[in-house]
Symmetry: C2
Subunit: 355 residues, 2 copies
């Protein structure tokens, strides 16, 4: 279905049909209605490629995310999609698996696809070649989840939030607080949260524990369980994301530890499912949907003004701490000896609450 056929059926020129769609004011009401009716009947929709080629604007935004298997980014993407839809923009999301080479390839591909702008979550803004390339090509982009003085960003104060969590855990009476993180080098955010941990521990006058780095998801629970098996174990774990927190809770249970009595676990991200688990997840709640939404709004605003987004327009969104069931103050000393047996495994059919 092409514009020519609509024009023919409506007894007008293609120019009039085009105007009826794009500049409705410039066409007589009667004509416009007729064109619209015919277009409707024929199911005509303007060919996006031709329009893009002609106008040099695609009304498409590229979205670069590490993965969609972590709900935090899926939630963000929903916000991006919602805000884009409001502005009549389509989105093309792509995932990079936290790999910087792939970030670069992805961005190149998106540029070739003529996206009008990009929202991206990158591993490390400071050294990202993908961002350099975008800047060199003068493509509008906004980062989400990262803060960097030279890039337009929408983020939360991850370091401050982490420090706050640790201080509050200390205030609850915890002294041995360990940080659990994914591969630190893979993500700027993980490093930021770790710095927050260090600062919080210093503020509380506590001794820092070695970071528990869990690089591979496969055996995360296994290695965490092993870690928790060795004395003296921490009384609280601060995890750099909620999925890690879920795994820590499982590892604790496998070791026969109660959460939160024997081990408090706090996550980071505020993924929705965290509130449905048992115990519900204590965590740093980020406004994931809003992060995406506002990144898009910043982007679209700058596009409308035909300028690049300015680093000075960066936004730091408020976060909140959710103190929920997976955390509490440490149990008194005698309690630590109660649960030394691992919980029954599957063959006993899950009697993990009879103990």
């Amino acid at each position: 279905m092409r514009i020519h056929e609509v024009a023919e059926r409506a007894g007008v020129s293609v120019a009039t049909v085009s105007r009826a769609f794009n500049l409705p004011d410039k066409v007589a009401p009667a004509t416009r209605e007729r064109v619209e009716r015919v277009a409707q009947e024929l199911g005509y929709l303007p060919n996006a490629s031709a329009r893009t080629l002609r106008t040099q604007r695609s009304r498409v935004l590229g979205v670069v995310l590490p993965t969609l298997l972590n709900p935090v980014f899926a939630e963000c993407l929903q916000g991006v999609a919602a805000a884009a839809a409001v502005g009549s923009y389509a989105i093309v999301p792509m995932t990079t698996a936290y790999d910087e080479a792939q970030e670069l390839r992805t961005v190149a591909q998106l540029m070739a696809a003529n996206v009008d702008g990009l929202v991206l979550v990158v591993s490390n803004p400071a050294r990202s070649q993908a961002l350099q390339r975008l800047r060199a090509a003068a493509r509008p982009y906004v980062l989400a989840y990262s803060a960097h003085p030279e890039h337009p960003c929408v983020s939360v104060d991850g370091e401050g939030a982490a420090a706050e969590v640790v201080r509050q855990l200390a205030a609850l009476g915890h002294q041995r607080i360990a940080m659990v993180s994914g591969t630190l080098s893979a993500s700027d955010r993980a490093q930021q949260r770790y710095r927050g941990y260090l600062r919080g521990m210093a503020d509380a006058g506590l001794a820092v524990l070695p970071v528990v780095e869990v690089p591979f998801v496969d055996n995360a629970v296994q290695s965490l369980a092993r870690y928790l098996d060795a004395a003296p174990r921490p009384t609280a774990l601060f995890c750099s994301n909620d999925l890690l927190a879920v795994r820590c809770i499982r590892a604790a249970r496998l070791q026969g530890l109660r959460v939160p009595e024997d081990l408090a676990v706090v996550g980071f991200d505020g993924i929705a499912i965290g509130e449905e688990l048992t115990p519900t997840l204590s965590t740093v709640v980020q406004p994931n949907g809003d992060m995406g939404r506002l990144a898009v709004q910043l982007l679209l605003k700058s596009i409308a003004r035909a300028r690049l987004p300015d680093a000075r327009d960066s936004l730091c969104l408020p976060h909140s701490l959710r103190w929920s069931e997976s955390s509490a103050g440490p149990a008194p000393t005698w309690a630590h000896t109660v649960f030394t047996e691992p919980i029954p495994t599957l063959s006993h059919h899950g009697g993990n609450h009879e103990i």
Copy 2:
């Protein structure tokens, strides 16, 4: 950066540059190398819109999903993305929130965007206007997660799997097995699984219980808890998806019920996080990634042959039952009276395992 500039810098015509990219064999090695080098230097990438307009092929696939907030579809999308990447196709995912009107709009938008084909998860293939439209326009598409004799599909036998789950629960000694479902009318799949429940109960000679329909996510846990409060309660719940199962487990705990001793809970989907929860989720494991992957392969194969995918090429993938910690046989009668107090709520700071 346009093809013309590359041609100029390389001292050849635009046709040669184009050929160097698309038909490398038809250009002299020396020339090709020079063109490639220049293109590299200039960071040239062919304009996708122009190419699409000219060739009438975009090398883009549309992906229509209900939501990305349910990990089952995020997992599927990863499979889709992987298979598309292998075939050098980009993807444009869109979500429909289980709304049929939005499915139609989304498909129309994707068609206007010149996608070469679509993978879609729709509410109800039998009455989907979106599918009618695709068929009318002769666009290649493949459905995932649904089976329908008139459409090319990649799915699992949801009814059979559900019946199997119910029979096995019965074999474990359960007699009061209830089905928990989202809005039945919103999804073909939910209905299919419900039919499986009915069949399984009949096979086991058990009396069917009224389906527990949980239409709105907001108060799902609340209403489930209320349901579980009323006697006589079921000893096993079969949930039409894993997220519901997670909520059922929480509702049970809120009522002071142990899972699985007082209440066995089985889900459906096999989302990855289910294995990390405590208790780990018993569920029907679908190959979510493969579902997406194979749907794309079917699609690309047919595109390569310049034909529409045939309903007779539909695939029914194997599923498996994962019997894990959230299910077990029913506890003996005396056990039902042990836990009658609700677990402490947040204000008591989560002592839900001290009972």
